[in-house]
């Protein structure tokens, strides 16, 4: 050990300075110059003098008939600590959670009847902060939101189409609707 101690120590200190300090600090500097919006959390600005409305990448909790709801979250969209349910496929708790959420969705959205509900809308996400829902989950909610806000269903459906993000390069991932962006579009449509 003794013969390699000194060279090992030198390598440790040099790589520490290079990879542990210089690299992340230089990257931070360059990223702040090139992509300041993204590097600082992709914030959506609020009214002047007010805090930002949210990050377009981080989901928020919405409740009540007037808003589109995101997916269930194991951490109730508390961004300080991301988390998932980690329930296994044969866990009775998972089945019960999905069943009780289904009952709520059916009760809240009478126009949907008792049809099966899109998979993403009853299951909690991996991060607990998923900002998106599927197009199917948005359409399911459209009649409820339209009614609560005295809008036509056509107008709400049009908003959903506007706020739908396609697959990356037309190929990768899944089409999706950003819940915060959709709800913000709703409020701007009505003045508040």
């Amino acid at each position: 050990m003794s013969s390699e101690f000194l060279p090992a120590l030198k390598l440790t200190l040099v790589t520490f300075a290079l990879c542990g300090l210089a690299y992340p600090l230089v990257t931070t500097g360059v990223a702040q110059i090139l992509f300041p919006q993204q590097a600082n959390g992709s914030l959506i600005a609020g009214a002047p003098g007010r805090p930002p409305l949210g990050s377009k990448l981080i989901g928020q909790q919405f409740q009540g008939p007037r808003w589109f709801h995101g997916r269930p979250s194991a951490v109730h969209y508390d961004a300080r600590s991301s988390g998932a349910s980690n329930l296994g496929p044969t866990n009775q708790l998972l089945v019960e959670h999905v069943a009780s959420r289904a009952a709520r969705v059916w009760a809240d959205n009478p126009t949907w009847g008792h049809k099966p509900i899109p998979a993403d809308y009853l299951t909690s996400s991996g991060s607990g902060l998923d900002p998106d829902i599927s197009i199917a989950a948005a359409r399911l909610q459209a009649p409820r939101v339209a009614r609560a806000r005295h809008l036509s269903e056509v107008a709400v459906d049009k908003l959903i189409a506007q706020k739908t993000t396609g697959r990356g390069l037309g190929l990768f991932g899944e089409p999706r609707v950003n819940v915060l962006a959709l709800n913000l579009a709703l409020t701007s449509l009505q003045g508040r």
């Binding site: 090992a8 990257t27 949210g54 009775q92 089945v95 359409r139 697959r167």
Partner: protein, 573 residues
């Protein structure tokens, strides 16, 4: 399953192979220490670093024993340094959330975990580590542990190619960092940031949503960490939910790029190997053998996750894919990734021993969860920085030995005779892996201190324990995250398993390389068993699967297989 579904999996695979080939050439120059044009570009950067380390430009050549000693000494010093940083975090700078130092057992587990390239995390980053720790401890070790693995693979290749002096460890590490990891990680970090991954030293964000809800959102130097996390097949996340977190993996494009980053070096290493030993046919055989296993696992998990969970279909969940939803088993998955991108990531992260996750493995269907588990049990489907490749060669030695026994001749590999010392070392290296998985798993499955951490009942609980120790032994780091692993038993137990899994196999393999290098070359004759044919490739895979199945089938039958049968039968626990 439509064309887009298949293409969004197939195209990243094709791109990966296309990029890995030229990178393989580049790696082969580093491994063979041949002068290249790259010397002129990187030389001026390297020279001051070498000077600081007290190294000459050629570096003194080391035997495999000295090389191992240098590797172990450096790793030990790094682990100690990081342990101290983690424990002393509270008094160190860049700590906007005023987080305290880590308790000793957790600091030990974390220092070992990142030094060994495992990146098992018994903590959640955003609530435990300061910006300084994320940079100086975590990001730092992500570079050096990956460089260590790759350096060991280079030394191994040099030994196999007949050199008794296998290079200079310190020189290898500096070159690998300057020529590969630092430039690629920097470019990768900027791409990720462009797509939305934060890179800042400002404190947490505070927002006020349109419905009046407040949110406090942690940020930090994330992109620089996530980039090397994948390139170095490390896998430890900045945030607790790793690459499922929108700040670590905001779009399907970042998902593809993170997949490519983690696959790049493991695949390129196979091509590099062919050049170093002067037999490209051999590299092709190894590549296809690994690729066939990879594709098999990929198809299994894709099918299982697309099929969804029949227990949930019965209570009103629509899991049928359509143009309006991804469908399938969406528990623990993100909408932007759906089934295709999640399945690709699951297969890649355990094949390349990265261990980052873009969906929760604990919530995969039972057979879907078997895929990452099995890949880590075999631990040689491409593998991480060098180690998986070396494991694959281990099975190659075993395959040569077995076929040699069958036809009654002395086994040879790469024109070197395989004799007792090599077989003894190979057997030890192969047996250590199941030993350090199954023994602690068995203890955890009967003792209260092990059982108390289980989150899911019945068969799945056993899978959780098994997954934890398999992940540690394979230096993977992904988890069935329901298991409450931040206990003294799991922190220390998995910590020790990670150490044994990493260093015993590296030492055994370097010893084999050293022993082979010292032997005379046997000229090829008509009786030579060629190892670069499709036939031998098939035997190679056969040996891997048979050894893997014999070792692990009983416990897998009690965990994931039993659970899948229960799921199909409509039984929940």
């Amino acid at each position: 399953m439509n064309a887009i579904f298949i293409l969004q999996i197939a195209i990243p695979l094709l791109v990966l192979v296309a990029v890995a080939m030229p990178v393989g050439v580049f790696l082969s120059h580093l491994a063979a220490e041949t002068p290249t044009r790259a010397d002129r570009i990187f030389g001026p950067v390297e020279r001051p670093l070498l000077w600081l380390c007290g190294l000459s430009r050629e570096g003194r050549q080391m035997t495999w024993k000295t090389y191992s000693l240098a590797l172990l000494s450096t790793n030990l010093l790094m682990a100690v340094l990081i342990y101290v940083i983690l424990v002393a975090q509270g008094v160190l700078p860049l700590n906007p959330l005023k987080l305290g130092g880590l308790p000793p057992a957790l600091a030990f587990n974390t220092a070992v975990s990142f030094t060994t390239n495992t990146d098992w995390q018994a903590y959640a980053g955003e609530t435990t580590l300061s910006y300084f720790s994320q940079m100086a401890a975590i990001t730092f070790l992500m570079f050096t542990s990956a460089a260590t693995g790759l350096a060991a693979a280079f030394a191994f290749m040099r030994g196999l190619s007949g050199r008794t002096e296998v290079g200079n460890y310190y020189l290898d590490v500096i070159r690998i960092l300057v020529r590969i990891f630092l430039p690629l990680a920097f470019i990768g970090a900027l791409f990720l940031c462009w797509q939305g991954v934060p890179q800042t030293l400002s404190p947490s964000l505070h927002v006020l949503g349109p419905q009046g809800a407040t949110q406090s959102i942690p940020v930090g130097p994330v992109a620089s960490l996530v980039s090397i996390k994948h390139l170095g097949t490390n896998g430890g996340g900045y945030f607790g939910q790793n690459s499922a977190h929108p700040f670590e993996n905001p779009t399907p494009l970042t998902n593809v790029v993170e997949f490519l980053l983690m696959g790049l070096i493991p695949v390129a290493l196979v091509f590099a190997f062919g050049r170093v030993i002067g037999n490209k046919r051999q590299a092709r055989v190894i590549f296809w053998a690994m690729a066939v296993m990879f594709l098999g696992f990929l198809i299994l998990v894709t099918w299982a996750e697309s099929a969804g969970n029949p227990l949930l279909a019965r209570v009103g969940l629509d899991q049928v894919a359509s143009g309006l939803q991804a469908g399938g088993n969406m528990v623990g998955k993100e909408v932007r990734f759906g089934i295709a991108q999640s399945a690709l990531f699951v297969t890649g992260t355990t094949a390349f021993t990265t261990g980052s996750v873009d969906c929760m493995h604990d919530s995969l269907t039972a057979l879907g969860g078997l895929v990452p588990l099995a890949e880590m049990m075999l631990n040689c489907v491409f593998g991480g920085k060098g180690v998986g490749f070396m494991n694959f060669m281990l099975y190659g030695i075993l395959a040569v030995f077995l076929t040699g026994l069958m036809v009654g001749r002395t086994p040879e590999i790469f024109n070197k005779k395989i004799e007792k010392p090599e077989i003894v070392l190979a057997s030890i290296a192969i047996l250590i892996h199941p030993l350090i998985i199954l023994v602690p798993s068995a203890i955890s499955a009967v003792e209260p201190f092990g059982l108390a951490s289980i989150a899911n009942p019945a068969f799945h609980g056993l899978s959780e324990i098994l997954y934890a120790f398999t992940s540690g032994a394979a230096n993977n780091g992904s988890a069935f995250a329901g298991l409450a692993a931040n206990t003294p038993w799991y922190n220390l137990g998995i910590g020790i398993v990670m150490l044994l899994g990493r260093y015993l196999s590296i030492l055994a393999l370097l010893a084999i390389a050293g022993s082979l290098a010292a032997k005379k070359k046997v000229p090829e004759g008509p009786g030579t068993l060629r190892t670069d044919t499709a036939l031998f490739g098939t035997i190679w895979v056969g040996v891997i699967l048979i050894v893997g199945a014999l070792t692990f089938f009983p416990v897998v039958a009690l965990g994931p297989v039993a659970e899948q049968l229960a799921m199909i039968a409509g039984k929940a626990f």
